[in-house]
Amino acid sequence: MRAYLPVYELKVPRSLQEALVLLEGEPGVWRPFAGGTDLMVLLEAGKLAHRNFFSILHLDELRGIQETPEHLTLGALTTYTQVRNHATLRGEFPMLCRAASETGGLAIQNRGTLGGNISNASPAADSPPALLVYDAQIELVSAARGSRLVEYKDFHTGYKQTLMRPDELISRIRLPRTQENARQHYYRKVGTRKAQAISKVCFAATARVEGRLLEDVRIALGSVAPTVVRCEKTEAILRNSEIDEQAISAAQDELSREVVPIDDLRSTANYRLEVALNLLGEFLRSTVAA
């Protein structure tokens, strides 16, 4: 343990309301602490700059998965284990379950939360590309203004930056349901090993195909830009086109302009770009092979 513990504080508010009042009372001083799977790693390394936290893990108001005909709504504290075991999610949003089952090992999945994965705002997080493709919405709550719903595609504003105000918490993640059973899902996380690895590239996409015609397509990537990215330009080139090698090549050209991977400790920009383009090719070929 490289941190000096007496300077850190982890309060335990009794209710969501008490937590929100704490957030509002001293803006920027208090930050939420859920499963701790990222924050405790920073603490141990002596790199946790912020010092005042409040635990939200026990707050029932932020738990549970609700189903309506239009939406599946997940409490911010929904763990990866709960995501991967949920029957409706497995049927309708399989990439989210796949992402959850490939994030860390079981001990991490029992503790890590979807809300934490989103607010931690790492461009290498595994569930956000799936959330982007599924057009997720994020519900934010504050003591002053109650709740508001924002589109997840607008949520990340820069590297580790989000549109959350200092007095807000993520309360829920809302997924619009679709009656399209014909939707194909393609998710690939590329890391150093199968378990416990952080992504070099993460690729999520859905397609609706009629014959060779790509009627609808959604593509999002992680670890190839300062934030996770929905690749709308590449989607636009592909939508309503016939999938052949020429179309795949044109889409790969567009994708190479839409992502901006970097060299870091986990991989290189060149490798990430190459892999991203290969995954796009594999995804597109799989849609017409199916």
Binding site: R111, K194, Q196
Partner: protein, 164 residues
Amino acid sequence: MREAETTSKVAVTCTVNGVAHTVEAYSMMRLLDVLREDLRLTGTKEGCGEGECGACSVMLNGELVNSCLIPIAQVEGANIKTIEGISLSDEQLHGVQEAFIVCGGAQCGICTPGMVIAAVHLLERNPTPDDAEIRDALAGNLCRCTGYVKIFEAVVHACRNRKA
């Protein structure tokens, strides 16, 4: 760095291996350190200290967790089971522990408590796991000695003995 204000310790009560304990600790103190240093339950090991290796695995309210990633303030009222609470009695080991001995699933021993906890956690939920399920359940536990084959065989052995 600016002079920082310091916080005071908090009292946390939890049950460890069936015994209630109240400890006084800084709120961000790791459960791992409380177990090893305050409660002297040194069976739980520290490997990486960052949630990668699983050596510090314990069960928290029946769920497998890494005790290096849990601040003590979050375990108020919790029920914790460590490797010291796995054997059936002082004379009788748990079937998973027996299987690790029989199959040679332990070498240096650092990963062993975490491996055993993860395997027990699996068998409590799924008494008849297939190969993929065993691999998935142990994916968060690293071993640098065995090459995993003997550990894997130990879990299979424990399942068979359980059925017998």
